[in-house]
Symmetry: none
Subunit: 272 residues, 2 copies
Amino acid sequence: MKSKLSQARPKDRANDSRSGIPATATSGAEQPRWNERRDTQVGADKKIRILIVEDEPAMVAGLRDNFEFEGYEVISADDGVSGLERALADHPDLVVLDVMMPRMSGLDVCKQLKAKRPSVPIIMLTARGQEIDKVVGLELGADDYVTKPFSIRELMARVKAVLRRVSPHANELEVYRFSDVEVNIRQNEVLRDGAPIELSSKEFALLAYFISHPAETLSRDRLLDAVWGYENYPNTRTVDTHIVHLRQKLELNPEEPRFILTVHGSGYKFVG
Amino acid sequence: MKSKLSQARPKDRANDSRSGIPATATSGAEQPRWNERRDTQVGADKKIRILIVEDEPAMVAGLRDNFEFEGYEVISADDGVSGLERALADHPDLVVLDVMMPRMSGLDVCKQLKAKRPSVPIIMLTARGQEIDKVVGLELGADDYVTKPFSIRELMARVKAVLRRVSPHANELEVYRFSDVEVNIRQNEVLRDGAPIELSSKEFALLAYFISHPAETLSRDRLLDAVWGYENYPNTRTVDTHIVHLRQKLELNPEEPRFILTVHGSGYKFVG
DNA sequence: CACAACTCTTAACATTTTTTTACCTGCTCT
DNA sequence: AGAGCAGGTAAAAAAATGTTAAGAGTTGTG
């Protein structure tokens, strides 16, 4: 969560000019803008971890910024050998791998990594003119590739696409039930006896966070951090208000909440 | 579903200069990429089932990934005998068959399978230098072959070609229906009660993407990536405008849309 | 080549929804 | 009783979306 200054967010992204990364030293022309809030992982419990293996520091910094802004956890390595080591040791959820690197080519890293961890998705960064088919084909097993110079926007989209493809579980399996209420995390949908309950996005994020921390007393500050983000400092009373709304929509008897309980002096607690 | 494919846009978009961002030197993206969404079987009634018979796990995994990404259903077997069994039991629409395998050679599997199910198309994976003529000729009856090492793109193209050749009905299978609306993906045609609804290419591409991701909330950015492509940076509001147009043409009551719903703060969602 | 028809994009304004803040009441504990 | 906290309510503020229209570019046609 980097600059989630959504307060000062420009209206449309055509105008904003968040510092992007030059995709290569040569192409300063591309001005990616990526500072709009997108479909990031809201209130996710554990972050998705991305490993960036790339020898050019500026590129790493730029990618790190953007990925972290999108809510991913980023680790990095600056040559092939250490990249392979980190990939094996730190269990990233996805690897972004430059082809041209010191010590060990990205192609070899890819091959060796796929041999040991066939399931970890890899996106290759290739220069134009390199043999794309080899990179992505079965010989190496990369899941996708982007040719330099690329827009951060394209890379980000492909990362998300690969993640969606690799773990479609996120789509369906995240359904929670308590009492006669059914919460589908992925589809932002809450049902009571099959009838939809309309929640605002904040309300839903709040509920999702509660659900993922059952029976745990959550302080207002913690809820603010998790649901509103670190760069937002609304009044803690804001949380209360949203709790009220949630209860009104969720509880059978909002006067006597059964699911979202108050822990006097501490915060709130969700009980399935 | 790339717009490129459905749009009769002869010229490169490189001369697109309105947003101040040059379309980049990267407009060499004319070459199709295997991993882009293509003319897959969108919203087809039932998926086309591919059987992969191959003993190398990494290869199976890679093929599975790619075929599933293209919208096929994949089943697999890791040796000749079980491959033949599954081919007979599970009625795949196409079989990808490695020649070199334990227990029973792919050649024998092919021969026996063709003897019992003459209609099921088979694509063989052969190593360079193997006797191609025998494989494809009448003796064995395979429909096509690919020599290792091959690019996934080539294999995918051959699979589609064979499927087209074998079942020209595939054209009609790409019809999706909801309410009294009928959408023919391949023919860019939308009918309501048999009467055509005229959609622009963007509108159609948008609808097609919605249809292929039913009940999933799609952010504007994701729609931009999928429908407009990576090299274009239109305003996110552009999506809204097109949604409006789509609704006006598609919904019975555009004021209260039933098919294309807005998810406030997140994007849009299509419900059949 | 001019002209009309059409598409796409952007902008401006209207409307709706969400989020935040402010103010007030009641409760609990010392 | 008074301080501190929980919670209700309403309204202001902000953001997102709907709507309409105008400009630029394309296509098709005479």
